[in-house]
Symmetry: D2
Subunit: 293 residues, 4 copies
Amino acid sequence: MEINPYNSPGNVAFTIPPRVSRKTKPDGTIVNINRVEVGGSEVVVIAGPCAVENQEQLFETARAVKTSGARILRGGAFKPRSSPYNFQGLGEEGLKMLREIRKETGLPVVTEVMDTRMVELVAAYTDMIQIGSRNMQNYPLLKEVGKQQKPVLLKRGMMATIEEFLLAAEYILNQGNEQVVLCERGIRTFETCTRNTLDLSAVPLLKRLSHLPVIVDPSHGTGLRWMVPAMAKAAVAVGADGLIMEVHYRPEEAICDGYQSLNLDEFAQLMIDLKKIAQAIGREISLPKPSKG
Amino acid sequence: MEINPYNSPGNVAFTIPPRVSRKTKPDGTIVNINRVEVGGSEVVVIAGPCAVENQEQLFETARAVKTSGARILRGGAFKPRSSPYNFQGLGEEGLKMLREIRKETGLPVVTEVMDTRMVELVAAYTDMIQIGSRNMQNYPLLKEVGKQQKPVLLKRGMMATIEEFLLAAEYILNQGNEQVVLCERGIRTFETCTRNTLDLSAVPLLKRLSHLPVIVDPSHGTGLRWMVPAMAKAAVAVGADGLIMEVHYRPEEAICDGYQSLNLDEFAQLMIDLKKIAQAIGREISLPKPSKG
Amino acid sequence: MEINPYNSPGNVAFTIPPRVSRKTKPDGTIVNINRVEVGGSEVVVIAGPCAVENQEQLFETARAVKTSGARILRGGAFKPRSSPYNFQGLGEEGLKMLREIRKETGLPVVTEVMDTRMVELVAAYTDMIQIGSRNMQNYPLLKEVGKQQKPVLLKRGMMATIEEFLLAAEYILNQGNEQVVLCERGIRTFETCTRNTLDLSAVPLLKRLSHLPVIVDPSHGTGLRWMVPAMAKAAVAVGADGLIMEVHYRPEEAICDGYQSLNLDEFAQLMIDLKKIAQAIGREISLPKPSKG
Amino acid sequence: MEINPYNSPGNVAFTIPPRVSRKTKPDGTIVNINRVEVGGSEVVVIAGPCAVENQEQLFETARAVKTSGARILRGGAFKPRSSPYNFQGLGEEGLKMLREIRKETGLPVVTEVMDTRMVELVAAYTDMIQIGSRNMQNYPLLKEVGKQQKPVLLKRGMMATIEEFLLAAEYILNQGNEQVVLCERGIRTFETCTRNTLDLSAVPLLKRLSHLPVIVDPSHGTGLRWMVPAMAKAAVAVGADGLIMEVHYRPEEAICDGYQSLNLDEFAQLMIDLKKIAQAIGREISLPKPSKG
């Protein structure tokens, strides 16, 4: 273990855990999600609905985000909801729908797991396992996904320090699974205008301290649909290896998080704008060629 | 559901979940942990080591805290540690030691569970199941303890609002288990002198909004051994139904959290001081009579 | 300068500024506000309205809080208000009313100053000068009150660390004025149920690090009238040298902060309760004898 | 006054103060600082040392930042320092140096004022008056700069909500001065790796709610020299109307804030990179043509 390489007033020196540390592995890790590479020169966009609600909603959204340039599909089958009276997800039925649209579109799928007992099931259906914000310090769960062969999307806890975030990733790597993507998704602060405060400084910081790829979630990070495009652009400019965003074919009818979901047109326009930012910093977003017209 | 009963600038109105709401049940709930009642006129003290380390450490500490007036024994067998390289607890071996000293002293035992797969095991060995701070929003775990017949000690997440805390408790009650004790244990703020900021205002707030008993953990709430007595006294004065504190027969040798553990003499003196505060507000702490001379 | 004497995970070591440090002066400072001593064995209560509104309001409130046991009168003539459209205080007219009721009741008076140009004026009318939370790092103002002969009540900024708070006090002592009382009044956190999070751990921390007296403001610290008594009791139990509370003869008609002001009866009852807590920890609150039957 | 136009969970609805509200003035305000316009299509860069230390340091730095494309010069003559034992600035002597280099380079100058008694003096020497973070709620000071004819740079308090920030600006506009530029400079959170957490979401939020221009300070916002370029790029991508950055001809010798100051070469390179981002979002940064071969 080593002392962290930056030094300024207000810094708490801490040791970077060895397996995630960039000192151990100076070249950045590239995580391969069924042939989509996160951590290379491409900025990879993950998009899809907050929750899988039904076939039409999922399929329509998935087809559209693919057409606009998304490389990976997101969608929740098991939903961690603050209230027990809110929709808790479709469970395995949702996983089956994800598998079906994955086959049709060829898009790899990422979905969340919350329970150690469900890890194998979720791993069987998907290409990437998500550990959500509320479970960033659920150590038995981290150990269990660390035993899988599937890539892991690890979201920062909403009140987790950078040190704790890296230690959580270390739990996964320590079990033998080195295919981990870190995701900044906003931290809790005193400010209440936004759902969270998206901490974009976490991106250069994590990339300096660790060899793992880092992506950003501007949907949960802001909680405000109209603000997602601006923050997505900033995330690309700051050096993120990718983005994960909530997109819904009818946000106003979404069962959860509709207020922070882009509609299909907004997403299509955003991809065009993001491509320009990526180019300005010497990276790529490759958009599909229009099929007709 | 109803609107919360207080109103001032900076308040976000929210609905109190129905099962935990005091409106549903105006009389406070008394939680019975193997004949020790939390929520009545007695201020109940839970004490013991952070982690069960070995027989001598556990037994010596348990006997001493009982002599000084503790009514329930705490001790961790499964430990949630930020780093995978730290001591993770003795597991079932630790549970067996807890059962043995429980038999000898007659003290009911509370210990933490982190994994849904371990809930039945932990429930079989102990009198009260603890859900730790990092798992306050581990919903599968909350549901699982909600199905048990054992009382639950639910600690507030270090990032959890009062609303989220009450919703987490609702998950447990909603499964049929109404024997829940809430525990304020410090929240994360910008201040770094203390490990957390112990939010004593949570006590009157939770007691006003909910019928569940509320206790305070000044050990994790401060992270500073010398500060625990002052904050424990404040917690009794503010109206807490109990305290949970880390006590170790040799804090300087503790494997974890020694810097915040009282030694046996400090704990004995504190119990005498707490009794006076309890009396000053019309409550009780009944100390055992000295057995000899 | 020296390293701070506590040590635990999460602590940022910092140097305690020399003039406020307890190492420089092991015995606690007693601040004398026109013969009322703060920092001795007595727990001193400061009470009065948020703002001086008119003669009746001020005089009725002042007479009543004196009868109930307050030792110092508070009341704002210059009010720092978030909005320019809110009542900004009566200014010098308010200072004159304070002087008049001070003469009648014999209660020393504390009032806030916000502008370097007003320091001499305020000092001329009052017994103690208050630096409010928003001005804790207004260094020209700190220097100016440091040049006065009047005791200073320095409130912790809502965003200030303990280190910054001590450094702010050092600015005053460094100009020659050692009559400074520190006041914890709540910090800003993510929790929105309360106006601020009253950080009672600041009391033992400040008293360990510094020789200056420390008092607590549960009115601003909670923003909730019904919660003030519980937190006031906790503040006495934790070891505060005094309290400052908003009391109004008709809170529902108050121009500012009525929702956090006690009425006269609530204050009278609270003083009786506080006396019991003070006794339980070996300190005193001396209540006036009832004048008649 | 009106209700704010966004709506999502966790939002506290508040009224936007009328003079700063975009509803009152749908077109954005352009603030003119001696012919440099902030709020138009150009992204304006303000650069210079934290503090004016001496003639050589100021002049060398000023000439270099002009050559690299800075449009306004910053430099502190009165410095708000946490400790009374730190360098407090050169005062009027520093103002004179600023005036001299302003004449030579033609760069408008911005400098901070902390004391109501100094406002006229500072206004006489400079083109724009800065209100620092610690004085964002120093209402007498806001009123005083509101009476001047000079543009004002108002920095967000490190723990100020968006509502409080807008209300602080309203204090200035309410006195008749509408030439106000808002500056996001990082807020205080639990994270300690960075000096502050730069809240880039404040930019789209402020621009939606208010007609005033918004700039970003990535130097104070991160406190880390190596991180400034990444966050500066993100700030341009998110839509900021400008940047203010600390640049020093010899950062390692700087009296204050050297650890967060760019050196001259880093700044020159950054300007080239920022121009590309600006173009990618349809805005401009016009760099001077190299004067010689």
